[in-house]
Symmetry: C2
Subunit: 321 residues, 2 copies
DNA sequence: TTGAAAGCGGTACCAC
DNA sequence: GTGGTACCGCTTTCAA
């Protein structure tokens, strides 16, 4: 590259980075740019960050959980906001790595910040990342992790809101759907626990209903529905709610007359069902705000880790409950 | 690190990589491992790949399109398979970058392979990537790109299958829903074109129906439905089909009696609708196969680029058509 | 205005 | 067995 333009490597660097501390003559700039174009020259990011001692890479382990449209939108916004702040967002496919082993793998890339969407990063993992140069570590999970900034997303609150709503509606024998799909228990367990908490101190009961996301599984559940003696069910989310509503209706069970039904996520499809689906609307944090938090912490890593409760839950009452 | 263990950098490298060409004494190995643990030492991936001249990184620009469960499963499998082959999968959030500019940004990372899910990579982009050291470039899009291996996913075929099915069912005045959500036209345009192709040479007509994914938009469309004089509609996918089915039914329009309705993607929700939704089932390639293609090409980059048609379309006839 | 050279953190060859 | 050292590609003083 330098040879082709007939200049030194240094000059190339100056020209391509528009280094303001150094003035390069127009003819030279042109020669460099032409040579770069001709060779299809692209700088080597690794070499650059090696020399610089830092990068602008924000690393985000890809969530191991199938994510819905809600999360996708949040993530898109986050990514876009970080790009605007001149960070490079990279999702790392750490399939098969767990705990501190995963943290080490991430640390090898020397990201300036790490955003961990799942649970599974411990205090030791945080320490490894920080020692390796990560200036910001942000977790998005059920609880705070020592040393990291945390966006606490307490899905128990979702269950609590659901339970409270059903009690309000006069229901006392509550079922709670727990998806059998592995990976979803990160969410389903806390939601179930939340319903349990909501009924504490009342005469209401909570029945756990394992359910696979398949028509037949739902039909089997519906077939034994009356024997369960439930008058309400929180169906984990809108999709499971739709699955169950169909099965119940096929079985001749009136919703909400005989059984109230409540979903979560407030998807469009809930409004298309008949009866219209009551649901727990979740409010995720704005991707923009997270991006700004990351940026702030990167600039001042000494800031004491903040913990924010970010999962807003609000029941949207329609016709199914 | 070397200092703490009281050995040279070289020795550290030998120990941590279990270099077989060199034998290190047990006591030394222990000292190195202890020092590493104590410091939380993690090797610097950039330095390593800089020295090695290559990496095992497979780069995948994050798709700009909201992806459904179908694609998510495919991608998970791909990622898992590549991990097993000892590649590191990284999704690059290239929001805001286009065409060759994006290709340059990817090339900076010096990935050993690049898998491009969207359209938008041109022959020049491919060349840039290859010159920068990418041994495999695979595109997944509507058409083959010069110089790259291609998994051609021709969504026209989806539309063609849909159109043919509706014609088979005796329909002649076909509507085709075209989502207004920007980004989706990558898929919706070819699907529409496919329907057009299917009716070519017949007396059937095709009417384009722009539609936003909102209840009100669907209601407005349904309100003027009879004036459109359509006897069938291909609703882009199952979710739009559900949206439209509800609106039509609310308007008192019988499905399939008055209007046949066809979705795509074969989601679970289609089976839950009444009437059960006919749909175009898409068969994506196995993530495993793509992983093996990538690996094969990485090992022998001289292989002449292969082009595979990978999008299988099959109409699943249920009750709505 | 430009070039020479050091050094980022590893790896691998060659001496000792 | 272990250490010295050159080198990967780039940035950044410092001199010329």
């Amino acid at each position: 590259m330098a040879r082709l333009a007939g200049v030194s490597r240094a000059t190339v660097s100056y020209v391509l980075n528009n280094t303001s501390a150094v003035r390069i003559s127009e003819p030279t700039r042109r020669r460099v740019h032409e040579a770069a174009k001709e060779l299809g020259y692209v700088p080597h990011a690794a070499a650059r960050s090696l020399r610089a001692g830092h990068s602008r890479m924000v690393l985000m382990p890809a969530p191991r959980v199938p994510v819905g449209p809600l999360y996708s939108r949040f993530f898109d916004e986050l990514q876009w906001s970080l790009s605007r702040l001149d960070y490079t967002v990279v999702q790392y496919g750490g399939v098969g790595l767990h705990g501190d082993e995963a943290a080490r793998a991430w640390a090898e890339l020397r990201p300036v910040a790490v955003i961990v969407p799942d649970e599974g990063l411990g205090p030791k993992g945080v320490a490894v990342l920080k020692r390796s140069g990560a200036r910001a570590v942000v977790t998005m999970g059920p609880e705070h992790v020592e040393g990291a900034h945390a966006l606490v997303m307490d899905h128990q609150e979702v269950g609590r809101a659901a339970g409270a709503h059903l009690l309000d509606r006069g229901r006392r024998r509550l079922g709670v759907v727990v998806p059998e799909a592995r990976g979803l228990d990160v969410f389903s367990r806390p939601r179930l626990a939340g319903v349990r908490r909501a009924v504490r101190g009342t005469d209401a009961t909570v029945t756990e209903l394992p359910l696979a996301y398949e028509e037949e599984a739902a039909a089997r559940l519906a077939a034994r529905w009356r024997s369960l003696g439930l008058d309400a069910v929180f169906a984990y989310n809108d999709e499971y709610a739709m699955l169950l509503m169909r099965a119940l209706q096929d079985e001749g069970i009136d919703v909400p007359g005989e059984t109230a039904l409540l979903g979560a996520d407030d998807l469009v499809l809930g409004r298309l069902l008949r009866p219209r689906l009551s649901t727990v609307h979740l409010r995720l944090p704005a991707g923009r705000d997270l991006a700004e938090l990351v940026d702030r912490v990167v600039r001042d890593p000494t800031a004491v880790p903040e913990t924010h409760e970010v999962l807003g839950s609000r029941v949207v009452h329609r016709e199914s409950s």
